[in-house]
Assembly symmetry: D2
Homo-oligomer: 142 residues x 4
């Protein structure tokens, strides 16, 4: 298992994010892990496997969407806010290969008191798999 890295956020918030992500059932099911957390940005990662395949034999877009959503949602959490996804828009630039590490990067573009705006991308090495933007509604503090 990958060890996450703290690039400058509050230690308590860091620990909460890393621990709850590691315990989150859907991340365990899909294999998504926390990689790096900074102020207003994160990297999440998943090793693509056969189990992520769609009917065409490619990595299912749902895994890419889940990684994109996870990256943007956790970017929100690095600001100390607990948010629920209001909307997510994703552009699928390329199909993802099996057997490679796929990275989801999320960043906060603007953190309002109630609405947080985010964007991000999903990559495999130099290949951009998807770009995304999302909005979150703040429901509390971490």
């Amino acid at each position: 298992m990958m060890t996450a890295v703290n690039k400058g956020i509050d230690e308590r918030i860091y620990n909460t994010i890393v621990t709850t992500n590691a315990q989150a059932p859907f991340y365990q099911l899909t294999g998504i892990q926390t990689r790096t957390l900074g102020p207003g940005w994160v990297e999440m990662a998943v090793m693509t496997e056969g189990k992520h395949g769609n009917p065409l034999g490619l990595i299912h877009g749902g895994l890419v969407s889940t990684l994109a959503d996870a990256a943007m949602a956790n970017a929100v959490r690095t600001t100390g806010k607990k948010g629920v996804t209001v909307h997510c828009d994703i552009n699928f630039l390329a199909s993802a290969p099996v057997g490679e590490e796929m990275i989801g990067r999320g960043r906060v573009d603007k953190a309002g008191s109630k609405i947080v705006f985010t964007s991000g991308e999903v990559v495999c090495g130099d290949k951009v798999i998807a770009t995304c933007q999302g909005t979150f509604y703040v429901v509390g503090e971490i």
Copy 2:
């Protein structure tokens, strides 16, 4: 296991969709099943379980996105076309409960020769969980 229902599409295409969906690894992993196929529309379903949970203890939005994408992609397939997702936009209206059947409905709004436009929604009973729209690029015939 649920049995799918054919509401009026070509039998060969119906069988291809049902069979390839049943064998698709990511649908097996997440528990998504084909339910009903009509001309230009489908219903896919998943029984929500603890394994679909996010760090907040709710059903992860990634499952909802996967179901929405699956419903729209398979609606495209009922027209006999093989398409890859270009873009997907999803609005999350409400959180999904654990232990209920969640239905994803997809429909084709316009089937161009190269671009297919779709929309849909994800529901649990009367509760709308999400609305979505997507676009697909046609790469071949089924």
Copy 3:
């Protein structure tokens, strides 16, 4: 000039919406008018003209986006809430012809206390020009 029709909303709110839309500079500039207002839904309209053209000689997508946004925003207002657009997603199914009435329909899918979810479409007669969905943040009452 078209006369708007009230299909069942509070008369004070109806008058406020119709009057402020008629006075709104950007609607005057683009020619967008209020057509019908019901509880949680509206129809806005614009007669497409040469002045709405893009560099390809078609109606510019920006007019379609403006009409879609206007329809969804005013659907929110029929509920008595003042909202600002958080996000808008639009699928462009077909180009709009010059010299026809283009109708934007917006509807409220869910009116939360703080976030309102909407969707809609833009049509010219039977031809669907665009489908859209949007989210709004409630900033007050009308």
Copy 4:
């Protein structure tokens, strides 16, 4: 009137884009001008005025959407391709002030032979008004 700047694209394509934009009726109506064109990216600009106001007295989101769409569409054109907008998604981070120059930046994230993926943002000085992503279908060469 602003003079556009060529930052490294083919002179014939540059002249075509600048000329057709200057003549495009909807850009004349709304006041949108071409500012800078580079390989795969552009800046378009508009001076916000009272005529762009919405019923709340702010700059209408439709102008922001039009500028965002224009920036992404022209970024596609710098690659020598003629494309029609398939989809546009826009996040509205802040309202735009009246009487300031509003800049729309568009860039090509991936130029496929048939589908071009783009993203961008709209800013007033240091203030980000909106972020956007869009997809375009290639219909020919410039």
